[in-house]
């Protein structure tokens, strides 16, 4: 596939190209609010004056379009099949950031073929010089496509909820990322936290078990950084049902403040 840009990324070849900070957002288990979090984090980062792109890498069953209430005619699928240019598929989203949507139900891309791999890489390389932050919203599970999409990013945020199934899947994800990608540092965000402090406890517990059972390729267990919690908040459900960003609908809500805090802590941390 050819990825052609309407304008070259660097007009002056001697100027250094500033590449985006790339963050993959993954969870293991589905239904933990990963896509909701990605979209609102992008909005929170945009408010800090950053140029943000959300890349929808949930190629099998994407729903970023549903969260954002965007139904574009042109998606990643059209870029993959050569029907559209990459520029046509990058759309402005309500929160002031840009999105590259996969389009729902691209079942043929739920398998990682060499073609899908090449297409993802070339698209990713093409958008990197044009943004400050690129968030990669991955699919549920730990499939080949998800792991590959995560491997494209410098940093990883693992989203979990206090449910045992979500914690197990988040832990399994951390283990796989350590074993397969040699990840030595991972961010953790706990969503739907009922009591303040539970997220911190969960992250601490994850770290304890990781230190005991996970040795990466270099023998070092990955370090988990607790980026913050999103409290259980009825305004989240309202925003999801209205298909609006929480950051737009209820920016003062506890959950929105949680997202803002995650954004602040993410930026406060040195990249990588």
């Amino acid at each position: 596939m050819m990825v052609t840009m309407s304008a070259p990324a660097t007009a002056n070849p001697t100027a250094p190209v500033r590449l985006a900070r790339t963050v993959a957002i993954t969870s293991g288990k589905g239904g933990v609010g990963k896509t909701f979090f990605s979209a609102n984090l992008a909005a929170a980062l945009s408010r800090q004056g950053l140029k943000v792109l959300v890349l929808d890498a949930d190629l099998g069953l994407a729903n970023l379009d549903v969260v954002l209430n965007l139904y574009p005619k042109i998606t990643l699928h059209d870029v993959f099949t050569g029907k559209a240019e990459l520029d046509e598929a990058i759309l402005p989203a309500p929160g002031g950031f840009s999105v590259l949507l996969a389009g729902s139900g691209l079942v043929e891309y739920s398998r990682l073929t060499p073609e899908v791999r090449d297409q993802l890489v070339s698209i990713f390389e093409a958008v990197k010089p044009r943004f400050d932050v690129i968030l990669i919203d991955t699919g549920a599970g730990i499939s080949d496509v998800v792991l590959y999409a995560v491997s494209l990013a410098h940093e990883v945020i693992v989203v979990a909820t206090p449910e045992p199934t979500s914690m197990t899947d988040a832990y399994a994800t951390i283990k796989v990322l350590s074993a397969q990608q040699g990840r030595e540092a991972l961010h953790v965000v706990v969503n739907q936290v009922g009591r303040s402090g539970d997220g911190r406890t969960i992250c601490h517990q994850l770290q304890q078990v990781v230190e005991r059972f996970v040795q990466g390729p270099s023998g070092v267990p990955p370090k988990l950084t607790h980026l913050g919690d999103i409290p259980l908040d009825s305004s989240v459900r309202e925003a999801v049902q209205k298909r609006q960003l929480l950051m737009e609908l209820h920016p003062g809500s506890a959950a929105a403040q949680g997202v803002v805090q995650v954004a602040t802590r993410l930026l406060a941390r040195a990249q990588g």
């Binding site: 293991g28 398998r111 599970g141 730990i142 499939s143 080949d144 206090p162 045992p164 914690m167 197990t168 899947d169 832990y171 399994a172 283990k175 796989v176 074993a179 397969q180 009591r195 303040s196 402090g197 539970d198 911190r200 406890t201 969960i202 992250c203 601490h204 517990q205 994850l206 770290q207 304890q208 078990v209 005991r212 059972f213 370090k223 988990l224 950084t225 607790h226 913050g228 919690d229 409290p231 506890a254 403040q257 949680g258 805090q261 602040t264 802590r265 406060a268 941390r269």
Partner: protein, 276 residues
Amino acid sequence: MKWVAAARLVFISRQKRPARKEPAIAAELVPPQDLRLDLALSLLGQAGWVPPQEVATGSAAWLQAVIDGLCDVSSRDALTGLANRRQFEAAIAREVDRVARVGEPALLLVADIDHFKKVNDTWGHAAGDEVIKSVAKCLQDCVRPMDLVARLGGEEFAIILPNCPPAFGQTVSERIRLKVAMQPVAVIGGQNLSVTVSIGGAFAQQWVRSSSTLWCERADQQLYRAKAEGRNLTCLEMPPLTVVSAEEKGLLFGALGTPSADFDSGLGDGLPTITE
């Protein structure tokens, strides 16, 4: 008491109803003389099927046995009696689902008889059949009852080993390779042939929604490697260590029962605090 009487009534009706109605249903729905079962019965006879004892020919139980027999015949390889490709594909799809859900390690082995064409060309197809039967028996003898051994076609076999830790996988594949190499095959003319197999294997990706096609491809790649590196070899792709044991789960969930008493400020403190 009313409910005792009612319970007794239910009990009595449950006991009696089937005995009274069963023959009537069978006579109405399945008049056996109307079914053309000659071909089915001759197929079953060839496959060594024995009609069930103490069951009247044409009864529902007899018909069920015929259907079960046909299912069995259609899922087995005629030459070796192993599972055929149809049964293998159903079993591997089930195993992929199970591994994704349960996270147990599962191994797929593919085995291919080395230089089989030479056996056929030199000793004839009857000898080739004897070699295939002998290898099939070796494979079946080396695995646990829960494992599925299938003949995929020609001289190619596959074994699905559920709940198979990596160390056991290596042991069992070596055991198979050695057993085949040590087992002489008697062919027509009093000759004893010695054959070997190359074996490739791959573990299912735990906690991963993968496909049986991908799993087979990975095992096949290891088989090609075994062939390329000189045959009579086993090559396994080792899994990344992603099992979440009961002990790990127990430690993880310890967190849920103990709220952090020392938590002070809640959200909104704006500080990048914890780095465990």
